[in-house]
């Protein structure tokens, strides 16, 4: 009996002794951690993906509390998480614009020609080495899905030969941007509906030969834009998103449909009659002659002319216009 008893008692006794000593020590040597660090650590996604540039979620929580990192530093959690962290830190959450990756190419199999049939390994980088890929346009999406494999969130898929980002799932982690050999994936604010989907810097004729939907540098969008938000660089239209107001006029004007906008998302201005005092300020600022009405009379929006640029909303002194 003793043969079994003594070892058990001894080890048990030692364990209890050390346990007590440690329990005492943990009280005596307790380090006070800022409770906010623990709280923030709890709301962070906890995947330790390193997307923020810190070693992990613990390190980021620490940096946020210290003030080294912004409350919006976590690219995965987005604005929802930023709001939670802001509440914990007791600061106002800046309306962090959610960014998403966008593939700047719309030359799918119907629009762009194939130079040759590619039988190599299914990887854009490999295809890139063979005369810049099989697509007739050397700037366009190879469509072999290297970005799809790189995406940890299943947010990018190849549809008819061109990679397309699922903006709901995209967390702006930039992993696809890093692997794309064509450099055609860009991070843009999600609220900006209008986009130029071409990277081809060649002259119009060359572009037309290789792709039906390439930017041919006709400059019609520049004329259509009432806000000077489109500039031309290297035979390519470029939207200055700080000026773009989502009026989608450029997309309407683009003859090759290179500029894409989802017209379903187009909003219309609506005047709240109770608040309108008939000052005509909105009418003066409307670039599209979509507002009518006399001085001191109620104004009216002409819905078929309104393009949803929301300039009148910003100018109305009585906040009598809203976007619907």
């Amino acid at each position: 009996m003793n043969m079994v008893l003594w070892p058990v008692v001894t080890l048990g006794g030692l364990a209890i002794f050390f346990g007590l000593v440690l329990a005492f020590a943990s009280k005596k040597f307790a380090v006070e951690v800022d409770p906010r660090v623990t709280d923030i650590r709890n709301v962070l996604p906890g995947a330790n993906c390193g997307g923020c540039g810190y070693a992990g979620c613990d390190a980021l929580a620490d940096a946020i509390v210290k003030g080294d990192a912004a409350i919006t530093a976590c690219p995965v959690g987005g604005s929802e998480l930023a709001a939670k962290i802001a509440a914990l830190m007791g600061v106002e959450a800046d309306s962090m614009e959610k960014h998403v990756a966008r593939v700047i190419c719309c030359g799918d199999k119907n629009n762009a020609k194939e130079k040759y049939e590619y039988f190599g390994i299914e990887d854009c980088k490999a295809a890139e080495m063979l005369a810049g890929g099989s697509k007739s346009c050397r700037f366009g999406c190879t469509g072999l899905g290297t970005c799809v494999k790189a995406c940890p969130f299943d947010a990018i898929h190849v549809v008819n030969g061109v990679a397309v980002v699922d903006e709901e799932k995209c967390t702006a982690c930039k992993k696809c941007i890093a692997v794309c050999p064509k450099n055609i994936i860009e991070l843009v604010p999600v609220s900006k509906e209008v986009r130029v989907l071409c990277k081809n810097t060649e002259k119009g004729k060359a572009v037309m030969e290789s792709c039906k939907v390439g930017c041919i540098a006709c400059q019609k969008c520049v004329k259509a834009c009432k806000f000077d938000a489109i500039v031309f660089e290297n035979n390519l239209a470029k939207i200055d998103y700080s000026k773009c107001v989502n009026c989608m006029m450029c997309a309407e004007a683009c003859p090759t449909k290179t500029i894409y906008a989802n017209f379903k998302n187009r909003k219309k201005a609506a005047i709240i009659d109770d608040k309108c005092i008939g000052c005509t300020i909105c009418k003066k600022h409307c670039n599209f002659e979509a507002i009518e009405g006399e001085l001191k009379g109620k104004h009216k929006i002409l819905e078929d002319k309104c393009v949803g640029c929301s300039q009148c909303v910003a100018k109305c002194p009585k906040k009598a216009i809203e976007m619907k």
């Binding site: 003594w6 070892p7 001894t10 080890l11 030692l14 364990a15 050390f18 020590a25 040597f29 380090v31």
Partner: protein, 194 residues
């Protein structure tokens, strides 16, 4: 005099890392920078000294009277694990910078076989309490000598022109083996001079 001889013997001739091959894990893991290497060795030396004494006490006041010496390994592991936890708390409280520098390696001292090795060697060599204490500390010093010298070498390796295939760990392994061979050269020290 005996203690002095023991020092030379433990640090150079029977170096824990380079001749007995104990504690290789932190030797390779924490030897990238001299600064962290020193921090780690201080922690190891401290734990080794304490663990030697504690395990000696456990051996002669608990295990031997109860005739359960065969429980030595598991009992010592318990002692060392408890001690490391304790040291971790103390360091966290007193020196947050050192705590950050040691990071994951501090709990790893628990599984550092050099600590268990020194505790068992003390018993096997039937040292008395004083010699045990010193042997523990000397063991730590021998670990310090090995890891700090090695960290110095690795810092130089960072900038040295090394073939691509050997960059990083491979060259560190080669350096470690050369180190070990060099230390084995102390082997004949006593028979020649004393």
């Amino acid at each position: 005099m005996t203690l002095l001889l023991l020092l030379v013997s433990t640090v150079f001739i029977n170096n824990f890392v380079l001749s007995r091959f104990l504690g290789i894990c932190p030797f390779l893991g924490v030897s990238k920078k001299v600064e962290t290497a020193i921090g780690m060795s201080v922690a190891v030396t401290f734990v080794m000294g304490l663990a030697s004494v504690m395990s000696w006490l456990v051996q002669y006041f608990v295990l031997v009277p109860l005739h359960i010496e065969y429980m030595q390994t598991i009992a010592f592991i318990l002692v060392i694990a408890g001690l490391v936890q304790f040291v971790e708390m103390v360091i966290k409280k007193t020196s947050p910078t050192l705590y950050q520098a040691l990071g994951v390696y501090l709990p790893l001292i628990t599984t550092n076989c050099a600590v268990l090795g020194v505790a068992i060697l003390n018993i096997q060599s039937s040292y008395n309490l004083i010699t045990t204490l010193f042997n523990g500390i000397y063991g730590g010093i021998s670990f310090t000598v090995a890891i700090v010298l090695f960290a110095g070498v690795r810092e130089r390796l960072e900038t040295a022109p090394i073939p691509k295939a050997l960059e990083g760990f491979p060259i560190a392994m080669i350096a470690a083996s050369l180190f070990s061979i060099a230390f084995l050269g102390f082997g004949g020290l006593f028979s020649k001079f004393f």
